[in-house]
């Protein structure tokens, strides 16, 4: 018991550090998205010269914001869940609820793995056909990189949450 407690604390620290790292990786593109759009609006208003390709870069930054933050959603266990069943199966701390959580976790790992697998195939096709955006001719694989990083990161994050048994402090 006493030997497990430090491990749990370390794990919480590791989990929250990784989640914060994902959060920061997503926050930087969010700030960039805001600043870029403001610069575009400002230049258009003052000099009548909007920034070319803002829309495509905002789309890239949006993909970074969402997908790089996605593993943090798993690590912080912040999914929206309907828990009305808890009262009928022995309360939130009960074994049946734990079993339901475990099954939901397994489904999450499986689903994210399928999503990452299919994303990988689509990204590979995009790379093979040299897909580019219409305005700036940005390679579409640039968009796929954060998407795949988020998907694969989420598979690992979901697996960590599935196998990690929380020890009370």
């Amino acid at each position: 018991m006493s030997g497990q407690q430090p491990k749990a604390v370390v794990s919480r620290g590791w989990r929250s550090t990784t989640a914060a790292a994902c959060g920061w990786a997503a926050a930087v593109p969010l700030a960039a998205m805001m600043l870029l759009t403001v610069a575009d609006v400002g230049l258009r208003a003052v000099l009548n010269r909007p920034l070319r390709g803002t829309l495509e870069i905002v789309e890239l930054l949006l993909a970074c914001t969402f997908f790089l933050a996605l593993p943090a959603l798993f690590l912080r266990d912040e999914h929206i869940v309907v828990d009305v069943v808890d009262g009928f199966v022995g309360g939130p701390g009960g074994r049946r609820v734990a079993l339901l959580k475990r099954l939901a976790g397994m489904l999450g790992v499986l689903l994210m793995a399928v999503m990452a697998w299919q994303g990988w195939i689509a990204a590979r096709d995009s790379l093979m056909f040299n897909d580019v955006t219409s305005d700036l001719s940005l390679p579409m694989i640039w968009y796929w990189i954060p998407v795949l990083a988020g998907m694969i990161g989420s598979v690992f994050a979901a697996a960590v949450m599935l196998f990690w048994k929380e020890t009370p402090r």
């Binding site: 914060a20 959060g23 920061w24 997503a26 926050a27 969010l30 700030a31 998205m33 805001m34 600043l35 759009t37 403001v38 575009d40 609006v41 208003a45 829309l55 905002v58 789309e59 890239l60 930054l61 949006l62 993909a63 914001t65 969402f66 997908f67 933050a69 996605l70 943090a72 959603l73 912080r76 912040e78 999914h79 929206i80 869940v81 309907v82 828990d83 009305v84 069943v85 808890d86 609820v97 339901l100 959580k101 099954l103 939901a104 489904l107 999450g108 689903l111 399928v114 999503m115 697998w117 299919q118 994303g119 195939i121 689509a122 968009y143 796929w144 998407v147 998907m151």
Partner: protein, 434 residues
């Protein structure tokens, strides 16, 4: 098995997964993927499953959501809630129930710079409840007033919920924002009337607070320039043709940060926290949107919504009964589903039904959002109630729910008004010619 039967099975499967504690986003994606595969084969289903998240997460129209969330997160951290409360109190000061009415006025104003009810309730629960309790207000009523007033955040534009609806229902966001303005103001007025009525019937719940002097009122009202500027950038700028919704969201988020720094109400640490809060909230919301779009692809393939609409209309049931049934459905869903999931799961099915009886998609967007405000304060899972309880653990949840009851009545009055007078929704978009 017929296509319709697979559709029904998919919906039942989704509900089973949701009630089995599967996260809503995963339940939507899993049932959508399996249903699509049952109809069109695994090869096409998997291809769809690989492309939907990518297409959605890099869709320019969605960038409005994190930027409006950021503006709200900054406003919440930059003391704007307290300033608005003081300014609102300057208006209502001297009458019985002034602090509760001031909370409602301030929440309505805060809703015009913050598109989230949770953020609005969280901000005002720290500011208003201690003040109301200091003057002897009943704890349950004070908390109920904040929980209910907080719901104005998703109705008064800019609203994150309306942005989500605009995507799922393919409606103009500018039109939805304009359409929500009058119902939002009407709901705020109904809440103030509710406070006045309760003050008459139960004066013991809210003792009279001392009146402010003219100088104090003037001083409190001075801080309203921040709200006026942010609202102008976030909403009015769209109708003046200066900005697209995404640009308006970016400019107003940036302005909120500049104001917060210039008035020394935020430091770099505060900005970092606001950015992190925003990306976590965005991930939570977008993941459900991804799941909902996978599910929607399956539902569209089944023609389930059209079949339901055709079946209901063929039964010859009058529009009033259909509206009553849809209202009952949303009241029921509001008791256990959050507002984003409610909109994403139901709108693809209910929208064809509602348009079939003569209402348009914009009207329905406002109607659904009002129904979501009811869900936010309905037991057992009223989200704004939980937010307040988390910050004031000494107020029992049951007392907060009791405190929201008079305001629930006001919500239903607004639902009735929307049905009886749909011009409440269509008047402003018509005036602005959008």
């Amino acid at each position: 098995m017929s296509v319709l039967a697979i559709g029904i099975l998919g919906v039942v499967g989704l509900l089973v997964l949701i009630f089995a504690r599967v996260p809503i986003a995963i339940a939507l994606a899993a049932s959508g993927l399996c249903g699509y595969a049952a109809l069109d084969g695994w090869a096409k289903a998997l291809k769809m499953f690989g492309s939907v998240p990518f297409n959605l997460a890099s869709a320019y129209s969605l960038s409005v959501i994190p930027l409006f969330i950021l503006m709200g997160a900054v406003a919440s951290r930059a003391n704007m809630a307290r300033e608005l409360f003081e300014a609102s109190n300057a208006i209502f000061s001297g009458i019985r129930g002034a602090l509760a009415s001031a909370t409602i006025g301030a929440c309505a104003a805060f809703g015009s710079i913050c598109g989230s009810s949770i953020a609005t309730a969280a901000a005002f629960s720290k500011v208003s409840i201690p003040e109301m309790r200091r003057y002897g207000y009943d704890a349950g009523f004070a908390a109920g007033a904040v929980a209910s007033a907080g719901t104005l955040g998703i109705l008064i534009p800019p609203s994150v919920m309306l942005a989500v609806y605009s995507i799922v229902a393919e409606q103009s966001l500018a039109r939805l924002f304009a359409a929500a303005m009058v119902p939002g103001i009407v709901l705020a007025v109904l809440y103030v009337i509710t406070v006045t009525l309760v003050a008459r019937l139960r004066p013991d719940l809210m003792p009279k607070a001392p009146s402010l002097s003219f100088a104090q009122r003037l001083r409190a009202a001075r801080s309203l320039w921040k709200l006026a500027l942010l609202f102008f950038l976030a909403v009015v700028g769209i109708y003046l043709g200066w900005f697209s919704p995404t640009e308006a969201a970016a400019v107003s988020a940036f302005a909120a940060i500049v104001i917060a720094f210039a008035t020394r109400h935020m430091d770099w640490r505060g900005l970092a926290d606001a950015l992190l809060d925003t990306v976590y909230a965005t991930a939570r919301l977008f993941f459900i949107v991804v799941g909902a779009f996978v599910f929607a692809r399956f539902i569209v393939l089944t023609q389930f919504p059209n079949e339901v609409a055709r079946w209901v209309l063929a039964t010859g049931v009058g529009p009033a009964w259909i509206l009553l049934a849809v209202t009952a459905l949303y009241v029921l869903l509001g008791t256990f589903l959050d507002e984003v999931s409610t909109i994403l799961i139901t709108v693809p099915v209910t929208l064809p039904l509602i348009t079939g009886i003569g209402f348009d998609g914009v009207w329905f967007g406002i109607f659904v959002t009002v129904m979501c405000t009811i869900g936010l304060i309905s037991p057992p899972t009223g989200m704004t109630v939980f937010v307040i309880q988390a910050q004031h653990p000494n107020i029992p949840v049951a007392r907060i729910y009791l405190g929201t009851l008079p305001f629930l009545a006001a919500d239903f009055v607004l639902v009735g008004l929307l049905i009886a007078v749909p011009q409440l929704v269509s008047w402003l978009p018509g005036l602005l010619k959008i």
